[in-house]
């Protein structure tokens, strides 16, 4: 099996899983499909020789963020019955709006494909390996890297502040 067939199959599976996130009726199932989508995206990364990115994607998104999503949804205990009923006009309006957004995205991506082909990653692309990625992050991209870490600190401090605002006593 050639690399191209594998890529095609993986891509199809990824899109399928992503569609199931939207299609499934039950929120918990949607989240589980989203986790599956992250896995498939990670396998796409591995095909592009970006192992570090793949495994970090799994640890951070599938392993931590999605677990918190699942947490909240499981505690909310949403059912089909408790789903709010929407008017037909609202449904039509949302279909139209979604379709327009889809067209815009396709149009934007069409230009993107041409750009991507110009800078297509070759098979010898080793930038995703940990060592090379580290070198790049601390030389060429050091400013964006540090700025994003400041952003993370700010959001962490914000989260702690929000959690501390209400005084709780746990005994």
């Amino acid at each position: 099996m050639s690399l191209e067939t594998i890529t095609t199959i993986l891509g199809g599976l990824t899109i399928g899983a992503a569609l199931m996130v939207v299609i499934s009726r039950h929120p918990v199932r949607s989240v589980l499909y989203l986790v599956l989508t992250f896995f498939l995206i990670s396998s796409n990364y591995i095909l592009m020789n970006a192992q570090f990115l793949a495994v970090v994607n799994i640890i951070v998104y599938a392993g931590a963020i999605m677990v918190l999503f699942l947490f909240v949804l499981m505690l909310l205990n949403l059912d089909k019955d408790s789903e709010p009923k929407t008017h037909v006009l609202v449904k039509i309006a949302s279909v139209v709006a979604g379709g327009i957004l889809f067209t815009v995205l396709i149009a934007a991506l069409k230009d993107g494909i041409a750009l991507g082909e110009a800078a297509a990653p070759s098979a010898q692309n080793n930038e995703g390996l940990v060592q090379n990625l580290g070198q790049l992050l601390f030389s060429k991209y050091v400013l964006p890297f540090e700025v994003s870490s400041v952003l993370f600190i700010a959001s962490m401090v914000g989260a702690v502040l929000l959690a501390k605002r209400e005084k709780q006593v746990i005994d």
């Binding site: 918990v28 589980l32 986790v35 192992q51 570090f52 495994v55 970090v56 799994i58 640890i59 599938a62 392993g63 931590a64 677990v67 918190l68 699942l70 947490f71 499981m74 505690l75 390996l129 940990v130 060592q131 746990i170």
Partner: protein, 343 residues
């Protein structure tokens, strides 16, 4: 990839699979024997000599019990839960190096299924996915005790993963690689990481207790409050899978501890040997360390009482994480000093 290489890897995978399952099965037996020893009892002694066939009898019993699915459970997720738990527990063994290269039929066989350059992150990744087995199973059972157990288990695992990850970063800083084989090779002979990083070892050990959901961190299944925790509704081999996955992860986390801190297959005086002798002695050293840690896990389980949940969160977030961060900073400073940054 050549056919011979494929066969070699396949044989390694099958062997690792068999060894892991065998050790996990007999870990259940030793757990009972150790418990009996600690409580001045005899323990299982009916099935075969010294009760050595007890795991087979247990397995047979689990297979022949009724495979029950509760009426209001989410059927597919209920079936998937134990499967995910078992899968993630078994996957982590694949990146652990068991010994140096072995010469067989004129070929060099690396005693490691996959030497990937992100080995330790691979293990962390599968640890963090292990939560899903418990969460899905607990939620799909449609039982509040199961859900409580699942929520406790997952919040505990997420909290302790952080301190664990920071300890791993310290070790990675010392060896300069994420590949487990490189980490082991830097600890040649008796040059083990535990002598340089005793604090990181203690924190890592506590966190692996929490990650494997064992006492004193077994709040997820504490029977006095939650009946049985996330596997309350499970019976037959589905419950067997959950229990078995716990023992598999007990084995792999003992192996990871010996790789990261106790030199893996390195042993003092290893320079006197080479070739296949070295490889076989390496396997013996690796398994001795692993079995020792399995015993320590059991020792702790039958000695220390269970934590209360708020104590658990306090310990995780307010002591282990700050201590490990400080430990990491000091390690970084020492490494920078040794490389002559302050001259």
């Amino acid at each position: 990839m050549e056919i011979s290489e494929l066969i070699e890897k396949l044989a390694l995978i099958v062997a690792l699979f068999g060894v892991t399952l065998g050790i996990a099965a007999y870990a259940t037996y030793f757990e009972r024997k150790v418990a009996a020893w600690f409580q001045d009892r005899i323990g299982p002694d009916r099935a075969g000599p010294f009760g050595i066939l007890q795991p087979l009898a247990d397995g047979g019993k689990l297979f022949f019990k009724e495979d029950f699915i509760p009426a209001n459970a989410e059927k597919w997720l209920f079936i998937m839960g134990p499967g995910i738990a078992m899968f993630t527990a078994l996957m982590t063994g694949s990146v652990i190096p068991w010994s140096t290269d072995l010469e067989l039929f004129g070929q060099t066989v690396a005693l490691q299924v996959a030497d990937i350059n992100i080995g330790i992150l691979f293990i962390m990744g599968f640890l963090s996915i292990g939560v899903y087995g418990i969460m899905i199973g607990g939620w799909a059972s449609n039982n509040k005790f199961s859900l409580f157990g699942a929520i406790r288990a997952s919040s505990q695992m997420i909290s302790y993963e952080l301190a664990m990850g920071i300890c791993v970063i310290t070790i990675v800083m010392m060896s300069g690689s994420l590949s487990l084989r490189d980490i082991v090779n830097t600890q040649h002979g008796m040059n083990w990481n535990v002598f340089y990083q005793p604090l990181a070892f203690v924190i890592f050990f506590i966190c692996s207790l929490a990650e494997t959901n064992r006492a004193p961190f077994d709040l997820a299944e504490c029977e006095s409050e939650l009946i049985g925790g996330y596997h309350t509704e499970y019976g037959s081999m589905k419950m067997g899978f959950y229990l078995f996955a716990e023992y598999v992860s007990l084995f792999t986390s003992s192996a990871v501890i010996s790789v990261l801190f106790f030199g893996g297959f390195n042993f003092p005086g290893m320079d006197n040997f080479d070739g296949n002798t070295l490889a076989i002695l390496g396997v013996v050293a690796m398994f001795t360390k692993t079995f020792f840690f399995i015993f320590v896990f059991m020792w702790i389980r039958w000695t220390i009482p269970r934590f209360r949940f708020d104590q658990l969160m306090h310990l995780g977030w307010k002591s282990l994480i700050p201590i490990s961060i400080i430990n990491m900073l000091i390690t970084g400073l020492v490494i920078a000093f040794n490389e002559g940054w302050f001259k």
